[in-house]
């Protein structure tokens, strides 16, 4: 049987406000346990929440960026359940009146096609604390530093059809929230977490299959692996005559498998109701327009501009606009050298390889955009060849010079363009290869063509790559004909 996968994602993005959503405590990651928990975060009797306006502003930013309907009257609701790291016994969230309503986000698939993914809603809520089960001799420890950290929960429509699409969507959300400056996107620290709702159905069937939810997957790679594993599990289960149960599952990256966390029989009735401690928040037009004015250029807009302004291919434009940092780097290189095509090639080529090999982000690149742009200028004015430039780039990366010019000077990499010097060098080389020269001269046109490459190689080798390739070609032809 042919199966079709249906995936919907819930992404929790931690908003990068300085203080918590309902208290004045700091939100810095990694502080000593319970040092960033105020009376409110501890759920002390008698304490009350006060909404952080910045969290609303960030949510509205997101809503505008995905072209969503905005909830003009925002109501916070209590989601009631007991858990030790949930100090009040309820989580303050939004139920019937989320800040962000229906919107959408376009993703680019591997074959270059663009797919529109519907976003059902995005709502504000507070994070819970953390339960620590190790080092407490059979007891559990509670760290409430994270309790009250603002989250934007972004719920997609079940529009996603494969693990790869899911990853592309999460990457697009990741890029977007970072473009907007509303989330640092640090998945390792849990700033962006993903719950994956996965189901399968026979191809052509309209009704959805029963879904399982994989909780808290925290890397792009794990999202792909967890979903693929879950698809496989469900298909095998059904083909063996079994039934998928609606349940929450956990992905174990060590074993590359998902396993059941809790079944439906333990499902909570969260008894949502409007939080009486918080008044409805009404978004006025002026506020929305002010936030709209603060929006940066978004990934889609940037991609289109890169194509039209710099004449880049759709693929190059999409790679270079994938992250705000990448785009900013590219544009700085472009500005420094005035050549978008070369800038794009270098950023996507040598620079990207370097970053991949060192496992670092473009913000930490050892070669600055100014340095790279300066180097490209030297390619353009023939001071160095493209080949030598690769060496210059490596020296810059190794911090063996502050600028390309300094490296070229220090390492003596300047291209030789003096015709006399090149001619002398070539003559010496041809003398050393007299037999080949004789053979060349005796050959027909077709064979000569092939042999010519040999002499060019020898010449570049003799000049250590510094001879201007154009001049080498021209002089070599003349000397061989001679």
């Amino acid at each position: 049987m042919q199966w079709e996968t249906v995936i919907g994602l819930e992404i929790h993005a931690q908003l990068s406000t300085r203080s918590k959503i309902f208290s004045g405590s700091a939100t810095t990651f990694g502080a000593e346990p319970n040092t960033q928990a105020s009376l409110v975060d501890l759920g002390m009797p008698g304490t009350l929440p006060v909404l952080n306006e910045e969290a609303v502003r960030m949510a509205v930013k997101f809503g505008l960026a995905i072209d969503a309907e905005l909830g003009r009257t925002n109501v916070f609701a209590r989601k009631n359940y007991f858990y030790p790291d949930l100090p009040k016994g309820y989580q303050t969230s939004q139920m019937d009146h989320p800040v962000v309503g229906k919107g959408h986000l376009d993703i680019t698939l591997e074959d270059g096609t663009v797919k529109r993914i519907g976003i059902t809603r995005a709502h504000l809520e507070e994070d819970a604390g953390k339960s620590l089960h190790e080092d407490f001799h059979g007891m559990s420890g509670i760290d409430l530093n994270r309790a009250g950290t603002p989250l934007l929960e972004i719920v997609s429509e079940p529009d996603i059809r494969s693990a790869k699409e899911a990853v592309a969507y999460v990457k697009a959300i990741h890029a977007l929230v970072r473009y907007l400056g509303i989330c640092d996107g640090n998945m390792a620290e849990g700033s962006l977490r993903c719950d994956c709702n996965v189901s399968v159905r026979p191809k052509g069937q309209e009704a959805f299959g029963t879904r399982a939810e994989i909780k808290n997957v925290n890397s792009f790679r794990f999202i792909e692996k967890a979903i693929n594993h879950e698809i496989q599990r469900q298909i095998e289960l059904i083909e063996d005559g079994g039934k998928v149960v609606q349940e929450t599952r956990l992905y174990d990256p060590n074993k590359d498998e998902t396993r059941s966390m809790r079944g439906k029989e333990e499902a909570n009735d969260y008894r949502y109701f409007p939080c009486p401690d918080l008044l409805p928040v009404v978004l006025e037009d002026s506020f929305i327009e002010q936030v709209r004015g603060e929006l940066p250029e978004l990934p889609g807009e940037k991609r289109a501009r890169f194509e039209s302004q710099y004449g880049l291919s759709a693929y190059d434009a999409s790679v270079l606009s994938a992250s705000r940092e990448m785009a900013e780097y590219f544009e700085a290189v472009q500005a420094a050298c005035g050549d978008a095509k070369l800038a794009a090639n270098w950023v996507m080529g040598d620079l990207s390889s370097l970053l991949n090999e060192s496992g670092i982000e473009i913000e930490q690149s050892p070669v600055s955009a100014q340095q790279l742009g300066g180097m490209i200028l030297r390619i353009k004015d023939n001071t160095i060849s493209g080949k030598i430039a690769k060496d210059v780039f490596k020296f810059l990366a190794a911090r063996e010079g502050a600028t390309a010019d300094e490296v070229i000077e220090k390492k003596g990499l300047k291209q030789v363009t003096d015709t006399g010097a090149i001619e002398a060098m070539l003559k010496e080389m041809l003398d050393a290869n007299a037999a080949q020269v004789e053979q060349y001269r005796a050959s027909d046109e077709a064979k000569r063509g092939k042999m010519f490459g040999f002499f060019v190689g020898q010449a570049m080798k003799a000049s250590k790559g510094k001879a201007n390739p154009g001049q080498v070609n021209e002089l070599l032809k003349k000397l061989l004909e001679g």
Partner: protein
């Protein structure tokens, strides 16, 4: 000295007739001597009181002359007080010392009041008789075999018995006005949002409001002036200027339009109380007021709506008492579920559990629309009734309670009969308007109260009417025998 009102105390302290230390020492001695009969205090903070009294005397010596500087009071035991027990009269908080002061406590301390301790109450403010306290029932000083009303029963009993001149209370469905009526006091529930709820342990957040209980309207005006005001820590607290309540007291009542809702004088009201209330009306007419019959047609739905909304909010508000971070924890829990179940099962009393169950049910999937949403619709109707009524009248007047104080234990077996005692007070909480109860005479030697209701933020008007009435009557000056 224990008969003095706050206003008289202010004059006495200013005239150096006595010092704040002398006054608080005298009252502390009285509490020690008399409170065993009443059980109105859960905690007496003698040392702290002496320190505060000394500080007040020092401030006065250096030239300060605030009306509340050196005034002894006490707080209902659900206002958080730093490093002093705040129990909500519950076993689950029997050992809880808040690490901070409630805004009301802080404001009154800043005004120079001397806090003598924390007052008994119904557990988590749930009750109308002050019988649900983990620390035992409070007795009515007018008849020790009777209840003082609730939930601010300790506040009422202590002030009525002359242990303190005034106290703070809270009112969710009548918890200031009803005990005030049953103990011959003046008590005011302000407009929702007038007094900060920060540090006031919540029963039903959308209904709870702190306010004063005292012997006179003038004293309530003094206290409310210090308690009221915007607090950025409470999102439901209203940022509106606080009126000069004292200045408003002396306005003449000529032209005052009083509305008498016919629903307040129907079946269930003790005829003798009705008589007393109408006598108050006659007295006010003499002062120049006019009277009009009005209708609040949705009043009959108030109790069912209240007993959905308040328990629903309570069921969520009380979730934080789970034995994990503070308060009572059961012995040797075997696992998390056991910790929760036994800590809460052993820590909460019967009435609290009943309301948590009712509220949990009302919010459950499948019942939410039928109960919670419907109750909210009724709440809007009740509010609209008042808005319409206040288009025609300045204040609404009626009985505070249908009956005088009842015998201890008389309604314990039948919670609904106790719930019905709040019939006249609950609507003000549902609508959020201010309400005041003042002494209106006696039935069989037991005090009865008359309730005045006014539009939003017109506390000054309520205090004005009560004060003018108290200028020409002396019910409020009567004191219980033996105290």
């Amino acid at each position: 000295m224990h008969r003095l009102t706050l206003a008289q105390i202010a004059r006495g302290l200013a005239a150096k007739d006595f010092s704040a230390v002398e006054l608080s020492d005298a009252l502390l001695a009285r509490i020690q001597q008399l409170d065993p009969q009443l059980n109105s205090f859960i905690t007496v903070t003698a040392d702290q009181a002496r320190a505060q009294a000394q500080a007040a005397d020092a401030r006065r010596a250096s030239g300060e002359n605030g009306a509340l500087l050196g005034a002894p009071i006490a707080h209902k035991d659900l206002f958080c007080t730093k490093d002093v027990l705040t129990t909500c009269a519950s076993k689950i908080l029997h050992n809880f010392k808040a690490p901070y002061d409630a805004t009301v406590v802080e404001k009154l301390a800043a005004a120079g009041t001397v806090s003598l301790g924390k007052l008994n109450m119904d557990e988590f403010a749930m009750g109308s008789a002050n019988e649900s306290s983990h620390f035992g029932a409070v007795k009515n000083p007018w008849d020790l075999s009777r209840v003082p009303g609730g939930s601010s029963g300790g506040s009422a009993a202590a002030v009525a018995a002359g242990l303190i001149p005034a106290a703070t209370g809270t009112d969710t469905g009548g918890s200031i006005r009803q005990p005030a009526a049953l103990t011959n006091l003046t008590g005011l529930k302000p407009t929702y949002g007038r007094v900060s709820r920060w540090g006031m342990i919540a029963y039903a957040s959308s209904l709870d409001q702190g306010g004063p209980l005292a012997r006179t309207a003038e004293d309530c005006a003094l206290l409310l002036g210090a308690m009221a005001g915007f607090d950025p820590k409470d999102s439901t607290c209203v940022d509106a200027p606080v009126d000069d309540y004292l200045a408003a007291l002396n306005q003449p009542l000529a032209g005052l339009r009083i509305g008498l809702p016919r629903e307040y004088f129907g079946a269930g009201l003790d005829a003798r109380i009705a008589e007393q209330v109408l006598a108050v009306v006659e007295e006010l007419k003499k002062l120049g007021a006019t009277v009009k019959d009005i209708s609040l047609p949705n009043m009959q739905h108030a109790i069912p709506a209240y007993y959905v909304i308040a328990p629903a909010e309570a069921s969520s508000n009380l979730s934080r008492f789970d034995g994990v971070r503070f308060g009572y924890r059961c012995e040797n829990p075997v696992n998390l579920e056991d910790l929760y179940k036994r800590s809460r099962g052993e820590g909460f009393g019967a009435e609290v559990k009943r309301r948590i169950m009712v509220g949990t049910y009302a919010l459950s999937a499948g019942y939410y629309d039928a109960y919670y949403l419907k109750a909210q619709r009724i709440r809007r109707l009740i509010k609209n009734d008042f808005v319409q009524a206040f288009a025609e009248v300045d204040v609404i007047l009626g009985p505070t309670t249908p009956n005088p104080a009842w015998q201890l234990g008389a309604k314990s077996a039948d919670p609904v009969s106790a719930y019905l005692e709040d019939i006249y007070t609950i609507t003000a909480n549902l609508a959020g308007i201010p309400g005041l109860s003042m002494p209106a005479g006696f039935v069989d030697g037991l005090p009865v109260g008359v309730q005045l209701l006014a539009p939003y933020f017109q506390e000054a008007r309520l205090l004005n009417v009560a004060h003018q009435y108290q200028q020409v009557t002396d019910w409020h000056t009567r004191t219980p025998a033996g105290f």
